[in-house]
Symmetry: C2
Subunit: 501 residues, 2 copies
């Protein structure tokens, strides 16, 4: 490492809060300084910057392929939902018709004070900017479904949604966010239940194999269930500060929305029946989860499968003739790596020094850096630096492509292993209320504890400790019965408690 | 053609209006019966159905690649824009702060009458649902730009926008529509002008080579210019009813938005200067253009490059053992075609007869149909049917893949040639006002006529005939001077008049 680089990195580090100092501040600084997102003039809304959006696009592409591979198609439904639709499903209205953006007028005009809302252009019925689309979609499905031949409907939508927020946290809590919402319609209960579970599996696969983020699959308690669902399946991830983050949900909606919007079909047996439903979604919140799972005190760390650039090549030169040779070699390496689908950035900017480039791409989480200088040309070598371990090695140009491919795999696997190890060491089985509070305050993480199955106990625990039941885990050996850590009443199995985002 | 197929097609045809009978009704029926889009419960909003959305996804993918190949990146900006932003650019407010959806409240509540807007949750400043994003984006760019090193900014956004409409026409005129909007920032006037022209070229290339739709490149007159632009470049296409459709625009915005939002940069010469801007967009309107350019009285016709399915395979069988053999062969052919990237649908539905499937896929515009029955298995043949010419041929199984590839190219080229021929025969040079009116009423199409260059004449012609100046054409030999067909005053060149969508 040359002196300039050290200076640049120190300067960068000086302006960057560590996780220990202030985790929340650390997160905000990564989001803003790594050019992922920024606040906007509209309270509660964010701007997703090109580098952040490129990561979201990688996520979208991977998820969209999985949806299509499992038989789903995309469609688009209106942004605006008539207010009355929210009253149609009793529980749904409680959950969603609260913090909504309400459109009341459809025209502006000029008067002496400037641009004002035209009072003559008041809507008869207010329109709600969708917080989720079950109601408008089921109102549409009514037209699409007559017979069992029209089923199943396996539709997904990529869209923006709005749920009003007063306190903004970029990616984690914003009034407007981007997401996908799947809405499926089925002839039988069993088929809908299987769909809800299948999509939970798709999310799990994506979280673990693309985001390198281990997740616990589980079922939400009644308190935490989606408004209008019979069952909510979820995946929960553990962040480095020991707080849980809900990373995706898949709902079995029963016939609730079919009944609310009168969607019936003629079955094979020629009987008129209500349609069975699911819905499932993940959002730009995943960006927050990705950041908080892997990043460190040197900035963002990206798993290779979701990195817009998997490799950055930084040419190093002093004299003009060195520049030509070194950049030419950089282009060759780039072309060779791209031939096998590796995403490469050649940073040939004249306006910045190598040390600055090293620090910038390290902060932006590019998995591998290749530095190449005049001596490398002579020796037929390059310098390879890994973002995950911050280690460097000089390597022969021969076989570079295979080495890069191997390293990208290794980094992907290493990030998952590290995160899994963190989760394992931060998952604690507790058997008493004192132990529960002690672990929650002093260690954090997932707490596996017996619970008596009542909403009252769940609410009291939340009120006393801020911990919620993240899920009744699906893939946890839960054969042993016991007594609730809080109430002492009988319990049929352990659930996962944690403080959460 | 067997008797069933004839019957099915007759039945389908009976329910389908021809272009001659009622062009507008013909269009609506294609959109709805080919499952492209539908009306929704919200006046002015449409539902884009899966088949229609799949075409839009093909368009998006092709455009997005072109944008990225020309150095652009995607980002995302807020849906809501503070009302005051619209007042900042004087002309922009006139053009856009009119028919807008206005958010005035951010909460609903329950009272005795049901769900109502909470009067306590009134916004201090109303928010406008973006009709276009220049204002919010330039407010953001202010934070991104300090020095010439930060330029150019080459950003595109895929998003939904809202411009209130009372009369809905699916894809052509809806309150909410989907689009992309590019917003670029440059250090020099020349660079911004070149960008605006370059993106017009990208749109032209997409329209002609993907949509198989010939377009005229041109410049808008002052009257028709984008609100806030110094120059609006456009591409204009001609529909089969002789009306023009604006298919894309690219604006050179000068320094108007930089001045309105105070976006300055320190130049290489160390001077503080305002940034130069462009914006450019195409929307789901292109779906309407695609439909009206190629479709016929048998339904939708899709160019192969944008068809979600380029080939549909329909198995024909009576007995169970025939079914097994025929479907097995169908799967083989599908796999073989897919190996070279052809998009294939094997319609193995048990619930529908072949005649129904033939009619359905013909109506949905699939470029090529392969029918395969027991006799084909014996003879090692298939039946190939082209959607563009409605011709059929029996062909040998050997070399099928190459034949399909050739035919897809031929269909793509044929559709363009047909559309170009239509445009050429419907482009008329006129030299008098009587001739102008006669062509406009009795023939339609593009009218190349001299115009005196004044807004007054342009407006009078529009008031008398509904024809507007579509553009001052860029690629038309316009060396000859003349006199305005309306005013008789001197003219420096011909412009393109037409009635339009």
């Amino acid at each position: 490492m040359d002196i300039k680089q050290i200076l640049y990195q120190k300067r960068m580090a000086k302006n960057f809060t560590s996780r220990k100092e202030d985790y929340s501040q650390w997160y905000n600084e990564i989001v803003i300084k790594a050019d992922l997102a920024d606040y906007s003039a509209v309270r509660g809304s964010m701007v997703i910057k090109p580098y952040g959006y490129a990561i979201w696009e990688m996520m979208q592409a991977a998820l969209d392929k999985k949806f299509k591979d499992t038989g789903h198609v995309n469609a688009y439904f209106p942004l605006f939902i008539p207010k009355s639709f929210f009253s149609k499903e009793a529980k749904h209205v409680e959950g969603f018709a609260k913090e909504c953006a309400v459109v009341t007028h459809y025209r502006l005009k000029n008067d002496e004070t400037g641009v004002v809302v035209d009072p003559d252009a008041k809507l008869e019925e207010e329109l709600i900017v969708r917080p989720t689309s079950e109601t408008i979609i089921w109102d549409t499905y009514k037209k699409w479904v007559q017979s069992w031949r029209d089923l199943p409907i396996l539709v997904n939508q990529w869209a923006n949604v709005v749920r009003w927020e007063m306190r903004t946290r970029l990616f984690l809590r914003t009034s407007e966010f981007l997401w996908q919402e799947g809405h499926t319609a089925h002839a039988t209960r069993l088929e809908a239940e299987e769909e809800a579970k299948k999509m939970l599996g798709v999310y799990t696969d994506f979280a673990e194999n693309f985001m390198a983020m281990p997740v616990l699959q589980g079922i939400k308690t009644e308190n935490e269930r989606f408004a209008g669902a019979l069952e909510t399946y979820c995946i929960e991830a553990l962040m480095q500060d020991g707080k849980a983050l809900q990373a995706g949900t898949s709902h079995f909606l029963g016939q609730n929305f079919a009944k609310a919007f009168d969607v019936k079909f003629l079955s094979k047996e020629n009987k008129l029946e209500y349609v069975w439903a699911t819905s499932w979604g993940v959002s730009t919140r995943l960006m927050g989860a990705l950041i908080m799972t892997h990043s460190d005190d040197s900035g963002l760390v990206l798993p290779p499968k979701l990195a817009p650039f998997q490799v950055v090549i930084v040419p190093i030169y002093r004299k003009e003739e060195e520049k030509i040779t070194v950049i030419e070699k950089g282009k060759q390496i780039k072309a060779e790596l791209e031939r096998v689908g590796i995403r490469v950035k050649l940073d040939d900017r004249d306006t910045q020094k190598p040390g600055f480039k090293f620090a910038e791409w390290e902060f932006k989480g590019v998995p591998l850096r290749i530095a190449i200088g005049p001596r490398d040309i002579t020796n037929n070598t390059v310098e390879l630096a890994r973002r995950d371990t911050l280690t460097k090695s000089v390597t022969d140009m021969e076989g570079l492509r295979e080495q890069v491919l191997d390293l990208l795999d290794e980094i992907q696997n290493n990030l998952f292993a590290k995160a899994l190890d963190f989760r394992n060491t931060h998952t604690t089985v507790v058997n008493s209320w004192d132990e529960f509070k002690d672990v929650l305050e002093n260690k954090g993480g997932f707490i596996m504890a017996h619970w008596d199955g009542t909403s009252e106990t769940e609410e009291q625990i939340k009120a006393e400790t801020k911990a919620t039941i993240r899920s009744i885990p699906l893939d946890y050996d839960n054969s042993e019965e016991g007594v609730c850590v809080y109430s002492g009443k009988p319990s049929k199995g352990r659930v996962v408690f944690a403080k959460s985002y």
